[in-house]
């Protein structure tokens, strides 16, 4: 192939202005996430699922409405309903951000570049959070016209409905992603993380009422999905949107802290 041609020793390499440290660590994480093909497949799948779901739920609202049922719902809220399924996308993205590193062994490279583990985890957190917020907001923006078209007059909405759905879904997916990232960091296994998170999101809400104790049943409303619904749809919920934000923040912080405490002292 080639002959060994190393460069002459030059004085230290010039550094880019925003080089290293926080910007570097975040840019590095973004480069990894965005340059892997599976990321884009997952995002395309999210849009397909959200658009299809919005259209179906919209059509259902229209059909029910025409049959005299009270099925009218603001179009953005119809799109929010599809998030019960579409949120799996941010769960996957967030999980793979860290478990992909362990399964491919690239975690050793990552920690050589960003050896401070707190910084590494927070850089990933920043990327996951922003990805979740942008993705959530974009899904509502794109899904609303589709839901509106298929639900016709039964999907009428105003600006408040739309803004609430955009901000709520964005924050919801972003913070859910952070929670999952922390959990995945602690568990290191993709399958274990995904099963745990799906269990929490979909199984636990159905299991808790089985105890037949009100105190336990009430816990359901503090789960991520329920808080996300309160945040994204402007209806009378068990609590207001500020509480919903706090609940989601709490889940995110708890996940992240768990991940950090395990990561801090663990051998790679």
């Amino acid at each position: 192939m080639s002959t060994p041609t190393t460069t002459d020793r030059t004085a230290a390499l010039p550094r880019t202005t925003r080089g290293g440290c926080w910007w570097g660590a975040i840019a590095f994480e973004w480069t990894k996430l965005s340059s892997v093909r599976s990321t884009w497949w997952i995002i395309v799948a999210a849009f397909v699922a959200a658009l299809l779901g919005s259209w179906l739920l919209g059509a259902s609202a229209l059909a029910s409405g025409r049959n005299g049922l009270d099925s009218a719902m603001p179009a953005p809220a119809i799109v929010v309903q599809t998030m019960l399924v579409v949120e799996i996308v941010i769960v996957l993205l967030s999980t793979f951000t860290i478990t992909g590193e362990y399964s491919t062994g690239s975690i050793t490279t990552t920690l050589q570049e960003v050896p401070r583990r707190k910084q590494m985890l927070l850089a990933k957190t920043a990327v996951v959070l922003v990805t979740g917020v942008v993705l959530g907001a974009a899904l509502i923006v794109v899904g609303t016209p589709v839901a509106s078209a298929s639900a016709s007059q039964f999907g009428a909405f105003d600006a408040v409905d739309l803004v609430r759905a955009i901000v709520g879904t964005g924050l919801g997916l972003g913070l859910l992603g952070v929670f999952v990232l922390g959990l995945a960091t602690a568990l290191r296994s993709a399958s274990l993380t995904i099963i745990t998170v799906l269990g929490l999101l979909h199984l636990v809400p159905n299991l808790l009422p089985l105890f037949g104790v009100d105190a336990i049943s009430d816990l359901v409303q503090y789960l991520p999905n329920q808080a996300m619904a309160v945040l994204a749809v402007d209806t009378a919920g068990p609590y207001g949107w500020p509480t919903a934000v706090l609940i989601l923040l709490g889940w995110a912080m708890a996940g992240l802290l768990t991940g950090y405490l395990v990561l801090r002292s663990r051998d790679v």
Binding site: L13, G24, K32, S35, G100, L111, Q112, E113, P115
Partner: protein
């Protein structure tokens, strides 16, 4: 410069790295030798802050790896051929590395050219052969133009051409004044490349010495002289180890090449002076077998222990005198 200070790592009762202290100097290739499972990789991983020492320290330029502000510009490491995410292209992998440490992106093109991967820069790492991955690993190590380079078994799985290429590359890097620290479980790989050898077995340091010293220590001379007892005395005073049997003396030690002149200086006649050199392979086998399995060891354990102690003390005596 790399320093280990009483570096120790235990996994339960197993002492993977056992109280290793050494200094690895600049401008030379230091081979880190030991059988598989001797603790080489563990030591290197602790050096890079990936694994936490049970006790002791592993420092680069006097600081732990995690405290380096721009680690890639200080240390480049090739740990295993699985560099990067298989779904990423070689270029985006290196670009990510560069961004993480504020290295300008033109350096990516430079290192790709250096290792001969420019043509496949946009292919995914998953499609690379082992040799190409190894080259990419070296490109990754060089991205920050670091002073210290750490390679863990770099020639594993490479074809002969690749092996030659890596050897010349390491020699070039050391010639530029960098610290090159390379592990291997095969001595033959190191014999042509390394200036200095550090040998560990079962987590313990058994030798730390320049390559030629390691050979000298095991060279023995047979001297036949009519005045053997007086000659033995002279040689003994000069710090050589001497075994006298009749007219014949068996000599070993650092100043083995001076036997002739020492005898001449005292006007002692020599009838025969012959040298036998153990091959480096033998030395290595003795050093490591002894520590690997005491029962099956051909050489008595105390011999190995003293050989190891001798080699370690030789080099430390030299370092303190220089």
């Amino acid at each position: 410069m790399i320093t280990f200070e009483s570096l120790t790592k235990t996994y339960g009762p197993k002492r993977a790295v056992d109280d290793i202290s050494l200094t690895i100097g600049t401008g030379k290739v230091t081979g880190f030798l030991g059988p598989n499972g001797a603790g080489k990789s563990t030591a290197m991983r602790m050096l890079l802050g990936l694994d936490r020492p049970t006790s002791g320290k592993a420092l680069i330029g006097g600081r732990p790896y995690v405290e380096l502000p721009h680690p890639l510009s200080t240390v480049g490491a090739l740990l295993e051929p699985r560099t990067g995410h298989p779904g990423q292209s070689a270029r985006s992998h290196l670009l990510g590395m560069a961004r993480s440490n504020g290295i300008p992106s033109r350096r990516v093109t430079a290192v790709l050219n250096m290792v001969g991967l420019a043509e496949v820069a946009r292919s995914r790492i998953g499609t690379f052969s082992l040799g190409m991955r190894q080259r990419l690993g070296i490109a990754s190590a060089l991205i920050g133009d670091p002073e210290v380079l750490i390679f863990d078994e770099p020639v594993n799985g490479l074809d002969p051409e690749g092996v030659t290429w890596i050897r010349r590359f390491m020699r070039d890097l050391a010639a530029q004044g960098r610290t090159v620290f390379v592990s291997s479980h095969l001595l033959s790989e190191m014999a042509d490349t390394a200036d200095h050898l550090v040998v560990i077995a079962q987590g313990r340091l058994v030798a730390d010495s320049p390559l030629h010293d390691l050979l000298d220590v095991t060279r023995t001379a047979i001297v036949r002289s009519p005045e053997s007892s007086r000659l033995a005395e002279v040689l003994d005073r000069s710090g050589l180890s001497v075994t006298l049997s009749g007219a014949q003396i068996q000599v070993s030690g650092e100043r083995i090449d001076e036997i002739g002149s020492l005898a001449h200086g005292q006007n002692l006649r020599i009838d025969e002076l012959s040298f036998t050199a153990a091959s480096l392979e033998d030395v290595y086998a003795q050093l490591t077998e002894g520590a690997t399995d005491h029962r099956s060891s051909v050489v008595p354990v105390d011999t190995i222990a003293s050989l190891g102690a001798q080699i370690v003390s030789n080099s430390s005596a030299k370092e303190s005198s220089s």
